[in-house]
């Protein structure tokens, strides 16, 4: 009962915050309350939501994948490079690479007990290097006869675009799978208490592999979609996806302690992040304001989370928790 009440309160809080932001934006900013702005917001919610949903998987099992932005960049590049002749082949190759990479990372974390944060920071660096190796100078470009793909992705469908629909469908399917399958429930169990989960017969290695493969696949999908939308992928691109994705996940109430998080709140988190970004863009101020706003929102949300946990007497296990493992750092 109390748990349900808590989830509901969080949900309502986020819905109200989104509405307040939308109304404030419409009143204060010229050109905010247009279908074009709305479509741009929802389209990017699909994109950021994919990254945030992937982060949610690793956060739910009590780990964190810091390399999502680099994975997205490499995936986008592979899709365009390998897709010179057949785009489908490129997309499949990019997704396969991301999935295998994520699975291996998850397996290593499960087997060696290395801190996921530290290992994925290494991957953040290395994969960014790989992206620059693949496209050292000019970005990879979508060939001319495939420009219909870019146009198709941004084609308006209702209040969003095709890209937004693809993102939302994947995200909602993931949310249903998290709640409705054995593997999904195992993830929450492992994040809640890994020893108890193992004691009740959960294969923890499989859970970690699934979480990190899922995270890489979702980040990869976001990278591929973003590259196809713009028709190009550069070695230095997409580095803002990490901050945006983490902010969406944390604003969406996913606990960095593991075991908590649901997809609807993550979507609302992504919505809040994108409303702020759209407002900043429309105001015509510098992009530095966006980094202040996003960073500020993330910090504020971390503090709210902290204050709420302390007030309700929940054990807000300290940050050593995420860094834990036999390797203490």
């Amino acid at each position: 009962m109390s748990v349900l009440a808590r989830i509901d309160r969080g949900l309502w809080l986020r819905i109200i915050l989104s509405i307040v932001l939308l109304v404030a934006g419409s009143i204060l900013i010229d050109g905010f309350a247009t279908t074009a702005t709305l479509a741009s917001i929802t389209e990017n919610v699909g994109l950021i939501g994919l990254v945030a949903a992937g982060l949610m998987l690793t956060m739910v099992v009590g780990q964190l994948d810091i390399a999502v932005a680099s994975v997205a960049a490499v995936s986008g590049i592979i899709a365009l490079l390998a897709g010179q002749n057949s785009l489908l082949l490129g997309i499949v190759a990019a997704l396969a690479a991301a999935g295998v990479y994520g699975g291996v990372i998850g397996w290593i974390i499960a087997r060696t007990g290395v801190s996921s944060l530290v290992l994925t920071v290494c991957m953040l660096i290395g994969l960014r290097g790989l992206a620059l190796v693949l496209v050292p100078q000019a970005p990879a470009i979508l060939s001319d006869d495939l420009f219909w793909v870019s146009d198709g992705l941004v084609a308006r469908i209702g209040p969003t675009s095709l890209l937004g629909v693809i993102g939302l469908v994947i995200i909602i399917a993931l949310g249903l799978a998290m709640r409705g399958t054995r593997l999904g429930l195992s993830m929450y169990a492992v994040g809640g208490n890994v020893e108890r989960a193992r004691g009740s017969g959960v294969n923890t290695t499989r859970v970690y592999v699934a979480a990190f493969a899922g995270s890489a696949l979702l980040a990869g999908t976001a990278g591929i979609l973003a590259s196809l939308r713009s028709g190009s992928a550069s070695g230095t691109g997409m580095d803002s996806l990490l901050l945006d994705g983490v902010t969406a996940a944390v604003v969406g109430g996913v606990s960095l302690e593991g075991g908590r998080g649901n997809i609807i709140n993550v979507l609302l988190g992504a919505l809040i992040v994108r409303i702020i970004a759209a407002a900043v863009a429309l105001e015509g101020v510098q992009s530095s304001v966006e980094s202040i706003a996003t960073g500020g929102v993330l910090l504020a949300m971390l503090l709210v989370d902290y204050a709420l946990a302390r007030r309700s007497g929940l054990p807000f296990a300290n940050s050593w928790r995420v860094l834990a493992g036999p390797v203490r750092i």
Binding site: Q63, I108, R111, T112, G113, V114, S115, L117, V118, L119, V121, C122, M123, L124, I125, G126, L127, R128, G129, L130, L132, V133, P136, V190, V194, E195, T204, Y208, L242, L243, V246, V250, L256, G258, Q286, S288, V289, E290, S291, I292, T294, G295, G296, L298, L299, L302, L303, Y306, A317, N318, S319, W320, R321, L323, A324, G325, P326, V327, R328, I329
Partner: protein, 334 residues
């Protein structure tokens, strides 16, 4: 064996004073030597295959180039040693402090005043991050957010302009040499010695090490854990302040992109040196060694004509290799 090791992932804090290192003399010896081995290997290979590597000017350039990363890494190592891995805001706080220092000189303040204000600003930046993390916020996520907000503010306030000093009172420190050795390198080595003595000989230093080794035990015996976390972030920010002053001395200007890639270099140095894995054992020299390895590697690859992407790729791969090797070796000892 495998099952035993797999237990580690995601377990809460391992409350153990007795997580052994690698058992036996061999393992211990291997762990000590492991971070130095790459330096020797790279040096020998480079000396044999890269023309111009073992020349005086090039070696001095290597030491100088590793000094900046090294100094920032020594500061950031305080965070690692206290058990919070690293700050992702190193680059941003160095840029901020460079602007503060340059701006103070521009408005005609004395060098002493400029340095004092820069250090006070560093203490503030470090204290805010340290406070957030000490309350239990995830160190990586909190400093990522803090760095983003800080960088945005600095770019906004400075209007993204480059400030150039007409007269540079710290040029001798940033760009000069003493007895043929770059002053930056001397600062790096002196700081390494001071830091090592601080950790092993002072009460505060030993408390930092103990907190990182076992936060619960530290709390039980009355060590003010939260205060120490704040102090660690302040020390890291002081390292960034020193880096900012040295680089402003070298280039006579402050710009928003002057430290691009510094955070990655510092994190890689901490990982490659192995200090992140040793954590609470507080071996500060590992941070310096890490910086040296990475710079040598970059230098060799630059001389070989490899581009930035390959260098970054190898940095990540090397960091992951050291991390996993040391983790597995430590696991074996259990």
């Amino acid at each position: 064996m495998a099952a035993n090791m797999a237990e580690g992932a995601g377990t809460p804090i391992v409350v153990d004073g007795e997580t052994p290192g690698v058992s036996g003399r061999w393992g211990g010896w291997m762990q000590t030597i492991a971070p130095i081995a790459p330096i020797v290997v790279i040096f020998v290979l480079a000396a044999a295959s890269v023309p111009g590597f073992v020349s005086g000017p090039n070696l001095i350039a290597v030491v100088q180039a590793s000094a900046i990363t090294g100094i920032a890494a020594i500061g950031a190592a305080a965070i690692t040693i206290v058990g919070k891995f690293v700050s992702l805001a190193i680059e941003q706080q160095a840029v901020t402090l460079a602007y503060v220092f340059t701006a103070m000189l521009m408005v005609g303040q004395s060098l002493t005043a400029a340095i004092a204000v820069t250090l006070v600003a560093a203490i503030l930046l470090g204290a805010v991050q340290g406070y957030l993390v000490s309350r239990g916020l995830n160190p990586i996520v909190a400093t990522l957010a803090f760095g983003s907000a800080l960088y945005g503010s600095v770019v906004l306030l400075s209007d993204n302009r480059t400030i150039t000093l007409r007269q540079n009172p710290v040029a001798w420190l940033g760009g000069g040499t003493s007895w043929g050795v770059p002053n930056q390198a001397i600062v790096f080595l002196v700081l390494l010695v001071i830091g090592t003595l601080f950790l092993s000989r002072t009460r505060l230093g030993r408390q930092l090490v103990l907190t990182g080794a076992n936060p619960k035990a530290a709390e039980l015996i009355g060590i003010p854990v939260r205060k120490l976390v704040v102090i660690a972030y302040v020390l890291a920010a002081m390292g960034s302040a020193l880096v900012a002053i040295l680089v402003v001395g070298q280039v006579s200007q402050a710009s928003s992109n002057m430290f691009d890639g510094l955070t990655i270099d510092v994190v890689a140095a901490i990982l490659v040196g192995g200090i992140a894995i040793q954590g609470g054992e507080g071996q500060l020299w590992r941070a310096g060694v890490g910086a040296l390895i990475l710079t040598m590697l970059s230098n060799v690859m630059l001389l070989l004509g490899l581009d930035a992407g390959v260098r970054l790729l190898l940095k990540g791969a090397l960091a992951a290799a050291v991390l996993l090797t040391m983790t597995v070796m430590k696991g074996r000892g259990r």
